[in-house]
Each structure stands twice: as C-alpha cells, then as structure tokens.
C-alpha cells in the first residue's frame, strides 16, 4: 500500500508537473496567438483631425477582437523630412490609414502600392479619404475622396438617390458635411461578409456626415449609406456612401467615412456601429471573410449605442450591473440578457444557467427593485421550477408583489 501510495504521489506530482507544463504552454500559445494576430500597422502623425486621440482608439478597437496585433507608426510632423518615414509594409497584413497630410516619399508610396497589389489589406478611416489628392493609386484605393481641391477632374460623385445608384459627373467640389448629428446608416448590401446580419437601419452617434465624395470609384461596392437631409444642416438630400469596399490588385480595402474623433473618441468613435463595422471591415480586408459575431449592442434604428470604453459589455457584467438598474437609467444590461436568451434558442441548460444568475439578483438584498422587476418579466416565461422559491418569496414584498404574482401566474405555479 505504502509503495502504491508513494507511486501515486509520484504520479500525481508528475501529473501536476505535466499539467503545469501544459498550462504554461497554453498560456504561451495564447500569448503567441495574440502576438500573432494579423500584424496591423496604423499610420498616423498628421491630420486635420485629432489623430492623437483616434489612433490609440483604433488600435484598441482592433486589438479587442483578438484578431489583430497592431502597431502605430507616426510620420514626421507637417513639413518634416518624409524620407525618415519608411515603414516596412512586408511585416504587415493590414494597414490602417489615419493620416491626412504631407505626401510620403516616392519610395514609401511605391512600397504601399506594392503591398496592396500583392494582397495587403487596407482600412481607410474618415479623413484619410481627404489625403493625397494627387496620388493616383491611393485615390483608386479609396475610390472616393473629398476636399484637397478634388473636383470633376478626379472622378464622379457617387451616391444613391431614390434608391438608385447614381454616378454623377457634374462639375463641383468634392467633399462636404453638414452640421454634426446622429444619423441613420442604411445597409445597402445585406449579403456581404461585413454587413451580413446587421440591422438594415441603425442610428450612428453624432458625427460628420461625409457628403459629395468623388473619385475614380472603380471596383467599389457601397455597403452602407446615410441620408444627408437638409433640415439637419446643409445636407445634400442624397444617400451618401458611408461604408465601402474596394478591390485593388490582389488587395482588399475597407473604407469607412465615419468616426470623427472628439475628446475621448466622442460618440462617433464610441458608437458600437462604428466599432463593429470597423472590426468586421478590417478582418474582411485581411482575409475576405468575417468570423466575428454581430455584438448584442449593435445599434438599431431606435437609438444610438455607445461604448465609452470601446468594449462590448459581457453577460457577467450585465448581471453585475442589472442590480443597479433604476428608472431613467440605461436599459442595456437587460438587453444584453435578453439577447442571450434569444441566442440560446431554447437550450434548456443554457436557459437554466441564466435563470440561476437571475435568481441570484432576485435574492440579493442590495439589488434594486427596478432591476428585479425587469428580470421577473423575463422569468415569467423562461423560468423553471428553479426560480419558484425566490419568486414566491417576493410576493410578500410590496414593491414586487405584482411582478412576482405575474410571474407565478404565467408559469402556472
């Protein structure tokens, strides 16, 4: 017995060592995986917009997915020596342009064109479509641009009018935007990997609504538009392109006209719609596919959804926060839970696990009455015997009597 015991001990010790080794390997691999996410380069350093705010946020948004590993590289300041700016594009799968400024060196330009022609992915972000009005290849990558003396010589205006795609060669300047405002983004192509399963219409956080963009517009698909109404300030009364894809050589370009950076990113960058489409567009630019799920907080036509920390609230956080719900506070935590219920599609174990989390809130004395009311409405149909004791206990609570009785009556208990 003693021998066996010691053998077992050795075995256990060995097992522990093996387990520890496996764990550390796993940690190593997962770190590697993050390290080995699609190498991404954000180019910034000059912009008529606040690039010092936007670039780190873009990095955070991309790295948050776990798919990208992002470096930020800044050019010399305006008027500086662009020969000093020599990114090694060959190290990267994706280049995000957050730049609107001096021309790069010819060598850098050539390197960038080679990168894209050979299959590199590009994200053109907001004012980056203002940049380099005279660089032909770059404008073919952005497809549409604005300002920088762009006019009919640079290509047509492209937009939708009364649901018809219009290529308009009339004379005029490229680029305008009315007053900043929230606006509805309309998904025009619903079967593209980037926009598949998105709501057809969603309200975007306050932003500049880029209008009258014009350019070569070759090999471009307009995935989403926004109607620039005149009432909201200087609109064109057209459905202006907001999200575009462009093919250039073997490369794929995702162009978002959205995301004007205010302090802290502001509503345009905090908008879950901006964040999600950027993440999906970036993945598509690298692989031609999108593996990310549509997040539960993707905005709808009913209202803007902001993420002040640029992260998607998790279910665990929603359950922690719903106990603080009160009238006039955000309903997003409930929406997160409801979304989970729908996505479980009747899975009994999954629903029971949610029910247990709900009961935890119901039995938590510090949790708010209003939060409990919301959960009781859900339990009234998806609850099982598990919740009954907790719900019955609430019948004697004058604040929750109605909701508890409602729940028990619907569950027929």
């Amino acid at each position: 017995m003693g021998i066996t015991n010691s053998l077992i001990r050795i075995d256990m010790k060995k097992q522990f060592i093996i387990l520890a080794a496996v764990l550390s390997l796993l940690t190593f691999f997962s770190a590697c995986k993050k390290e080995n996410g699609y190498k991404t380069l954000i180019i910034t350093g000059q912009n008529n917009h606040n690039w010092k705010v936007s670039s780190p946020i873009l990095k955070q948004i991309l790295d948050e997915t776990g798919l990208f590993s992002t470096d930020i590289m800044t050019t010399p300041d305006k008027g500086g020596d662009m020969k000093q700016f020599n990114p090694d594009f060959s190290k990267y799968r994706l280049v995000v342009v957050d730049y609107n400024g001096d021309s790069w060196s010819e060598k850098t330009n050539a390197g960038f064109v080679d990168f894209v022609k050979n299959g590199g992915g590009v994200v053109i972000y907001h004012a980056a479509d203002n940049s380099f009005p005279l660089w032909k290849e770059y404008n073919e990558m952005t497809a549409l641009g604005g300002w920088g003396d762009r006019n009919q010589k640079d290509g047509p205006y492209v937009y939708y009018k009364n649901d018809k795609l219009v290529t308009d060669t009339s004379a005029g300047n490229g680029g305008s935007h009315g007053k900043r405002r929230e606006y509805i983004v309309r998904t025009m192509i619903t079967d593209h990997p980037i926009t598949r399963d998105l709501p057809q219409r969603w309200l975007h956080g306050t932003d500049e609504l880029y209008s009258q963009l014009r350019g070569p517009a070759k090999n471009m698909e307009i995935l989403a538009t926004a109607f620039a109404d005149s009432a909201a300030g200087g609109g064109t009364m057209r459905d202006e392109p907001m999200l575009m894809t462009i093919l250039y050589g073997k490369g794929r370009i995702f162009h978002t006209a959205m995301g004007h950076a205010d302090e802290g990113g502001g509503p345009a960058m905090q908008c879950a719609g901006f964040i999600t489409t950027l993440q999906r567009g970036a993945e598509w630019a690298v692989t031609g596919e999108v593996t990310q799920k549509i997040p539960w907080d993707f905005p709808t036509s009913a209202g803007v959804t902001l993420r002040p920390d640029f992260k998607e609230t998790t279910l665990e956080e929603a359950f922690q926060n719903i106990g603080n719900y009160d009238i006039a506070k955000s309903t997003r935590n409930l929406s997160c839970i409801q979304n989970k219920i729908r996505s479980l599609a009747g899975d009994t174990q999954g629903l029971l696990s949610l029910e247990k989390s709900m009961v935890k809130v119901l039995t938590d004395k510090s949790a708010s009455v209003e939060g409990k009311k919301l959960l009781l409405r859900e339990l009234s149909w998806m609850g099982s015997d598990y919740c009954l004791t907790a719900v019955k206990d609430l019948v004697s609570n004058t604040d929750l009597k109605d909701e508890a009785e409602f729940t028990l009556s619907r569950l027929k208990k």
Partner: protein, 437 residues
C-alpha cells in the same frame, strides 16, 4: 382596491365634466323595443365610443359621415381632455349638448343602452373591454389587433360566438377595391397555384431613450390607463406611444397584422386557420423603454404547403403590402390603390360567375351598420381578425424565444414547448381579470 380608489380619483378629476352629463338616454336604441339586436332599416343605430384617441375619433368621424344611419350618444375615455373634445365633436354634429361622457367603461356599459359600440384602445385593454362589451350583447366595431395575446383572442372569439352579436374589425382595407381585387385574383388561381406570400409591414419606430418619472397630467387617469398591465410610473408615455412598448403592444408588426396579414389570409383562403410552423428573427432596441422589435422577419409554414414571410418592408423586394406568389406569377397590393402583377394581363382577368367572389363592401363603417340591421356577418368578423393577429403573435413568440414554433391551428396550442406556451397569455394585474364568457 387600487381600482376603486383610482375610480374615485378619476371621478374627482373629471367631476366638472361628469356633472354635465345627462343621466337618462334621450335616444332609445331600437334593440330596446324587443327587436333583439337587429334594428329596422329606418332606424338610427344608437352607438357609443370607448377610446377617443386618434383612431377612436377617426372611426367616430367615419360613422358620423353616414349621417342618418347612426346616432352617437355617449363616449368613454380615461383622458378627460379627449373626452371633452369627443363630446364637443358629437354635440356640434347634433347641435345639442346630449352626448354623455364616462371615465370608466364599466359604468358606461352598465348605464348605456346601445345598439353598437365603437372601441379603439391600447391593445392591452382589448381582452377585457371587448369581452365585457360583447357579454352585454352590444354589437362591436373593434380596432385591430383584436388582442395582445392568443388567449385574449380566444376569449373574445368565444364571447362573440356565444352572444351572437355582429362584430366588425377595423381592418378597413377589406372594403377597398384594390385589396379585394388582388385577393380575388389570388384565390381564383390567377397567379397559378399559391406557393408563397410576402407581407411587408412598416419599419420600426425611433426610440425615446429612458425618460425620467413625470407628474401624471391632471386629465389622465393613469391607473385606469394601465388597467391590467403591470404598474409602472408615468414617464410621459401613454397615448400613441404605447405602441412601442411590449407590455401594451407588439409594435408595427401587431399593429399592421390586421391589415396586410389579414388581406394575405383573405386571398389565400387561410382566414380560418393558422400556420403550423413559425421561425424568424427580430432586431430589438438596445437602449430605452421602447422595446418592441424595430426589424422583424419570420416565415410561417401552412399545412397545405403555402409559406408566408412577414417582415418589415425594407427587407422585401416589393416593400409594404401583400404579395401572393403562385407558380404562374404574382399579384401585389398596397395602400394608395396599388395593385400590380408579374404580368399586367393578370390584372385584366375576369372572375367568372362560378368562381369565388369575395365579400364586397365599399364602406367599412356602412358595412357594419348594414350588418347590424340585417344580422349578416360583417366583412371583417372576429374569427378572421383573430387568425390574422395570431400570425403576428406567433411570430413574436418565435422571435422572443429564438426558436422554431410548432403551432396546431385546430387545437390552437403550441406543441412541445412549455416556455413558448407561457407566452400565449399575459397575466392581468389584480384585481383585473378576463371576464368569463
């Protein structure tokens, strides 16, 4: 108890108005003279109205246009300003001060001797008040959707059958030429054998965020407005906007089911049955107290193989309206006298004498009056209204659960899904209950 005190509250609030009411009816309904529920063609139909909001007033105006056919004698609402406006409208029409007003439908139904009542209320009140009115053997012009839940609908249908009254649903598209014509072409096989129907309903409403609690305006009896729904503090949301809150309504989907789904059923011969399988997805707001789906898209399969897709209009190639697809083509109908087809020749087709001729009415409100007189069923009877809203309510359940729902349209039960079955009804806040039939 809460109910009683609220009634007192209302009486106190609207005391000035109620004091002006005449107690004895001056117009005595024909049905009071032992003629049963029918009235002679020469007599005016004595009618009252419960709910004097936008739809209630719209219906009232449509009835008043019939001039000598009806006599409005009384109105009931939980908003004393609306009530006063409704009385003013009626008194102006008759150049007198006779219109009686009520803040509580129970008192209204108890005291008023009516041939008919026009009812237009938030959906969460339909089950109770429709059933109560029908139990009084009053003929009803009732707004769609006729119920908030399947169970409410079943109760109302049973009450109408038992009491043998005339019921007209506010599905007035049935009384327009293009809808009848489209349905007649479809049901007579002018697009071939029916395979697939598309129903496009309005896109979702804008949100309102999460407004704070506000004082209840003095004209509104908030407790009575809520009635059987769970008690919530007043947040400036009541009239009109109840449409966007699941406690009271299912949104554009349930609002419009009584129009384009109803028409779809009419032209497909599905108005006395329901789907056997329903699956689909909704898009729900993330923020705010408006929580109905703003986008929706679900597919219903019927036992005869027909499929019906119901979605917000921008998801469908032809947008709003009903499109019947057969193996030879399609016909589409929508508001604005729209009727179109895959081949314009279809629209010139003549329906032969021995083919199906659908019920013809050119005025929905006149049709109700005529039927009360004749005792014949109205063009939008209760059973078909119930089958139309059932489609939307089952779609709502499929979207809420994220599951494919199996429905037995004969037994009117969901098969093998206890959780989804819970969603077939919505308990009432005490002391409210569905009246027994």
């Amino acid at each position: 108890m809460a109910n009683k005190s609220s009634r007192r509250d209302f009486v106190r609030r609207s005391a000035a108005l109620v004091a002006g009411a005449v107690i004895l009816p001056q117009i005595i309904p024909s049905s009071a003279f032992g003629m049963g529920r029918r009235i002679a063609p020469s007599d005016r139909l004595v009618i009252g109205s419960i709910g004097t909001g936008s739809q209630g007033m719209s219906n009232m105006m449509d009835f008043l246009k019939l001039k000598g056919a009806v006599q409005f004698v009384s109105v009931c609402d939980v908003d004393s300003l609306r009530l006063a406006k409704a009385k003013e409208t009626i008194d102006l029409e008759y150049k007198n001060k006779d219109c009686r007003i009520y803040g509580d439908y129970r008192e209204f139904l108890e005291k008023e001797k009516l041939d008919a009542v026009s009812i237009a209320l938030p959906d969460h009140w339909h089950g109770i008040i429709y059933t109560a009115a029908v139990n009084k053997k009053i003929n009803v012009y009732g707004e769609k959707p006729i119920c908030r839940t399947i169970k409410d609908g079943q109760t109302i249908v049973a009450a109408v059958k038992k009491n043998n009254i005339i019921w007209q649903t506010g599905s007035w598209q049935r009384s327009l030429f293009n809808f009848r014509r489209g349905a007649e072409l479809a049901i007579n096989g002018r697009v071939g054998k029916l395979k697939y129907i598309e129903v496009g309903l309005p896109n979702g409403n804008k949100g309102i965020g999460t407004p704070p609690v506000k004082p209840v305006p003095p004209e509104l009896n908030w407790e009575m407005w809520l009635g059987p729904a769970l008690k919530v503090p007043y947040r400036g949301v009541s009239h009109w906007d109840w449409r966007w809150i699941l406690d009271y309504s299912g949104g554009q989907l349930t609002d419009w089911a009584g129009h384009h789904i109803d028409i779809a059923n009419w032209g497909a011969g599905l108005e006395h049955t329901g789907p056997v399988e329903i699956s689909g997805k909704g898009v729900y707001p993330v923020e705010g107290i408006f929580n109905v789906p703003v986008e929706y898209d679900f597919l219903c399969k019927y036992s005869n193989g027909i499929e019906m897709r119901v979605a917000n209009a921008s998801r469908l190639p032809l947008g709003m309206g009903t499109t019947w697809h057969g193996d030879l083509g399609w016909v589409h109908v929508d508001r604005g006298d729209i009727i179109s087809a895959s081949d314009p020749k279809i629209l010139n087709e003549v329906i032969g004498e021995n083919e199906i001729h659908l019920y013809k009415s050119d005025n929905h409100w006149q049709n109700f009056v005529d039927c009360v007189r004749s005792g014949k069923p109205a063009i939008a009877p209760i059973e078909v209204a119930y089958r139309a809203i059932s489609v939307a309510l089952l779609g709502e359940i499929a979207m809420t659960t994220g599951q494919t729902i199996k429905w037995d349209p004969e037994k009117e039960e969901i098969a093998g899904n206890e959780k989804a079955t819970h969603l077939l009804s919505r308990p009432y806040r005490q002391p409210w209950a569905l009246p027994t039939v």
